[in-house]
Subunit: 282 residues, 2 copies
Amino acid sequence: MTRRSDSIAVVIPEPGAQLFGDPFFPRILRGISDALAEESMQLILLMPHSRTDEERVERYLGAGHTDGAMLISLHGADPLPAELRRSGIPIVVGGRPPTEGVSYVDVDNRAGAGTAVHHLADNGRRRIATIAGPQDMAAGVDRLLGYHDRLAEAGIGPDHGMVEIADFTLEGGRAAMERLLERHPSLDAVFAASDLMAIGALAALRGAGRSIPDDVAVVGFDDSQLCLTAEPRLSSVRQPIEEMGREMAQLLLQEIRLPDRAPRRVILDTRLVVRGSSSRST
Amino acid sequence: MTRRSDSIAVVIPEPGAQLFGDPFFPRILRGISDALAEESMQLILLMPHSRTDEERVERYLGAGHTDGAMLISLHGADPLPAELRRSGIPIVVGGRPPTEGVSYVDVDNRAGAGTAVHHLADNGRRRIATIAGPQDMAAGVDRLLGYHDRLAEAGIGPDHGMVEIADFTLEGGRAAMERLLERHPSLDAVFAASDLMAIGALAALRGAGRSIPDDVAVVGFDDSQLCLTAEPRLSSVRQPIEEMGREMAQLLLQEIRLPDRAPRRVILDTRLVVRGSSSRST
């Protein structure tokens, strides 16, 4: 059966507030929809908030209303990719998935976090804290690993107490920064695993009377538009988010045409963009 | 043919940046998805950016992949509702639609804008400007009418020069406020037709050294979360956005079950919430 719906689903299992508050999502959707428009494919967005919702998504996709699906922002051992795979639905995951045997596109989160910490150490910072992302998401885990890699390499040594976990949101970043300051008032730098969390951290640092970057240097992750409106402007690890979306769409279209080929992964590089929040000279 | 897909589409023809930047959309989607979850219906989101995209949406909906559609944020004489209606697809529009014979849910935008202007005049303001929304959208037109209604009633008389049109965004609001200040440096109040535009206006007023509310009082429209983080906190016309979403979903489910009944409109009331941006005593 080769019935074609000429449509592709993007499945984002995030609460609405997060989905709409984080500039990551419109950027990756722009990349995806640009690539699909070239092929005259309809993009449909599904936002399951619970396991019951996900089962409804499985039924909808299983009924042939779309030709395939992209899954973004998966948490923990979410069974969705494995279930869809089992139903023979072509899928591509954004970010390293919890399941084997699935094609995905990711950025090199671990190396990216490493460049941020390397830059801070290189500028003489010695008490470098981190606000890590959710540890049930690959992007959260990998960016924390990158932090530890480079601290060890810089001979600073891991200090587990200088890690706080938050949820990639501005409010989460602000609360995590307050906890870090309370426990480690002498910290001189912080790497936050998302721009939103870094901007929350800037607010907490200002609230505590710390000057940026003199007292505390700050680096985020994403290099979103927010970096340019932050005060001071935010240094950040640039990930090519639109490009990630385009790669996902192209990979999925290939999987639909050639369903039997081996799953593959595409890993995109990041680069550090240095601004006023971590360097006096810029 | 009564084939059921048990899914409903929400069609929002807005550029991604706007869709994801405006807190209106997650709130209305939350109301819609709450109502649909009770009925175990799948919600799918379609975001056409061009007329070509809209034709693709028409084909997708026409092929029976959903049981009906809600349309939000329509601009100008968008032919989409009429085309879907012609194809026999049950639809409900959010906001007064450009087409007759279509069911819709709206808030009383004209009266809501009126309460804002009434409040400003009541507090002794006499040079009341407005930042209106897009004049190709019913919400933009109706809120501007409400402003003129009440100015006339307060005996202040319409001064067409104190109106600037923007696009419901923060940046649009800031630029509009700068233009108003340039032309009317003595203005003492401004009603902005969305919270995002009001927050842009606050930034422009601060940039011009005006104190709020002493020099200039500001009232927005929506009563979103943003009102509470603005400095000072923003007075705003509260529209029941989640409720609007729930009403739309319920109306659409009824239209699907009873396709032959007369189209109907549901109009929800607004109320003014006064905070520090327009009143010294709060």
